[in-house]
């Protein structure tokens, strides 16, 4: 399977190009990429400003880390800007959330249960309008419900595949707005299903395959539209522990091969540390960014992932206690 998957990945010219980039950046000494300033990063003090007082930056000198550290700096482009986003329903959910993500970053959103992680993701995806603040993708504001010329791929908690369509038709369906004809849609769908390891299952109905495979198909669908940004909302929450680990590795591979910017909501600190390059911990409701941690490598790249996990566990416990305290005070 892995062999075919690799082939699937290499079919894509952009992925191949990025691999070349990566190889090039890998050859560079570490210092060469680092001093280059991040475009737009200075305004909000990101990423350097946030590193100093509140969060811990985990430095890394491993081989793999240099490639990932080279990711954002390589292009220097800010892909996603979240600026002062607030959201209130009956209660204020998000108070004032701001952060930025550079092209190719893998951002994990963490936080206590019910702190608004999913709401934030939905605002980024244009499914809900913020009460205040703005989200920009490539500098262009995201309008809720409006037709965006920037495609954003979303993988939901549930697969949200249409049960009456085969996996290939499910992927092909989202290509219709791009005006592709039926054979082109079929070819593209097959290619992306192969890329996520579903070769041979193109003509299966979602009800006939496992939950993990359905989530793979949902990822294929999200990738097929060629998104600038991939949003994932606890996509593996419904999977068993074993499938979860397999899918984490898959997402890491997909991220590495496509170079997409990913925002990934999870409640599992271990998951975030093992796959993310940037961890954003939201505070208790109403949420702000409590911590922003940039890991220099996904999982293995960090010298002490255990330390980060322990630290974040401590932070999240503080937030949960604070949340409960505030809830108790409320009549």
């Amino acid at each position: 399977m892995t062999a075919s998957v690799r082939r699937g990945g290499d079919l894509r010219p952009e992925a191949a190009g990025r691999d070349r980039d990566r190889r090039a950046s890998r050859r560079l000494p570490q210092g060469a990429a680092a001093p280059r300033p991040l475009a737009g990063g200075g305004r909000h003090g990101l990423p350097d400003g946030t590193r100093a007082p509140t969060s811990r930056a985990v430095a890394s000198g491993r081989r793999r880390a240099s490639r990932v550290a080279g990711g954002p700096e390589r292009t220097g482009a800010v892909k996603l800007e979240v600026e002062g986003v607030a959201k209130a329903y009956a209660l204020p959910i998000l108070a004032d959330v701001s952060f930025q993500a550079a092209q190719g970053e893998f951002v994990c959103l963490l936080g206590p249960n019910g702190c608004g992680k999913t709401t934030l993701l939905r605002i980024i995806g244009g499914l809900e309008a913020p009460t205040a603040g703005e989200v920009r993708i490539d500098g262009r504001p995201v309008a809720c419900g409006g037709t965006r010329d920037l495609p954003v791929g979303v993988v939901f908690q549930e697969d949200r595949l249409l049960p009456w369509m085969t996996l290939a038709d499910n992927v092909g369906l989202v290509l219709k707005p791009q005006g592709l004809d039926a054979p082109a849609r079929r070819t593209t769908a097959t290619r992306y299903l192969r890329f996520v390891g579903l070769q041979g299952f193109e003509h299966y109905y979602p009800g006939r395959v496992s939950g993990g495979m359905r989530q793979r198909a949902a990822i294929a669908r999200a990738l097929a539209i060629g998104p600038d940004l991939l949003l994932m909302d606890e996509p593996f929450g419904a999977l068993d522990a074993q499938n979860r680990r397999i899918m984490q590795a898959e997402v890491k591979r997909i991220w590495a091969e496509t170079g997409k910017t990913i925002v990934f909501v999870t409640h599992s600190i271990e998951e975030a540390v093992s796959i993310g390059t940037t961890l954003i911990m939201l505070s208790a409701r109403p949420a702000r960014v409590r911590e922003l941690i940039r890991l220099d490598g996904p999982g293995g790249g960090s010298p002490d992932p255990r330390g980060v996990v322990d630290h974040l566990n401590q932070v999240i416990m503080e937030e949960v206690v604070r949340q409960q305290g505030e809830d108790a005070e409320r009549p």
Binding site: G125, L127, G145, T147, R148, P151, V152, V154, F156, E158, R160, L162, P163, W164, M165, L173, V174, K176, P177, Y205, P206, G207, R221, I225
Partner: protein, 257 residues
């Protein structure tokens, strides 16, 4: 032991043994009652079967069953079309949803007899009377199912369509219609059974063909045997339609399940 027992049960279930035993018992009771009360009150099973063979041979069965079915086709067919339009309206427009739901409730509470009498007044002794009655009675049954189907469309799937910027028509075609069709088929199935029962009652008045007409006519000429024969024809039409049309339809639509 479970194997042996299970095998035996599988065989018995396949030929519907319990029902056959019950049928044999009822035939015996029927025959006894026929001997006790006479052919006018209770014709014997043998005589009824002979009568059935007679109407099939003479072709009378096709004339009357055909007349009833053609009225059902018009009355019930229009009911399905109108029900789908009601479902569509209630999907697209919120005020329509409320109006449709209330209309369905009121129509569902209206007796068959109201429509029979009203249609006799409006249309007289014509084909339109049973057609209109069938239409008015089956409409709320089918519409209730379609409206429920349209209401049960998974909002999360529609949101997925929004994320991937599917057009309104594409969302309707790929998400709304497939979600509603199982409800439409269920409603049509129930509605068709009701249509057959209702149209036959409406045929008692004013028309000169159809299963209802010929049953009532047989009663008037004291041919009780033929009443039973036509009752059997009606049951057969219902069973055959269910088997041929609805079972295959359900199977085809449920391929992905």
């Amino acid at each position: 032991m479970p194997g042996a027992l299970g095998g035996g049960r599988g065989w018995a279930d396949r030929v519907r043994l319990p029902s056959l035993v019950l049928l044999a018992f009822l035939l015996v009771v029927w025959e006894a009652a026929a001997r006790r009360y006479g052919a006018y009150v209770m014709p014997s099973p043998g005589a009824v079967v002979a009568g059935l063979v007679g109407v099939v041979r003479s072709g009378e069965v096709w004339t009357h069953a055909g007349a009833s079915l053609s009225r059902i086709a018009v009355g019930f067919g229009s009911a399905v079309v109108v029900a789908v339009l009601m479902g569509l309206a209630s999907f697209l427009w919120r005020p329509a949803r409320i109006a449709v739901a209330d209309t369905v409730t009121v129509l569902n509470s209206t007796s068959v007899f109201v429509w029979i009498v009203v249609s006799l007044i409006w249309f007289g002794l014509t084909n339109m009377a049973p057609i209109f009655t069938t239409f008015m009675i089956t409409l709320p049954v089918v519409a209730a199912n379609v409206v429920e189907g349209v209401g049960s469309v998974d909002r999360r799937l529609l949101e997925m369509g929004q994320v991937y910027r599917l057009s309104g028509w594409e969302k309707f075609r790929s998400i709304v219609i497939p979600s509603t069709i199982p409800h439409l088929v269920a409603g049509t199935k129930v509605g068709f059974g009701l249509a057959l029962k209702v149209s036959v009652v409406a045929e008692i008045f004013g028309v000169t063909s159809g299963i209802g007409y010929v049953m009532n006519y047989s009663r008037e000429i004291l041919a009780t045997r033929m009443v039973f024969v036509w009752a059997l024809v009606m049951i057969a039409v219902m069973l055959v339609t269910d088997k041929l049309v609805f079972e295959s339809l359900t199977r085809r639509l449920g391929r992905w399940r």
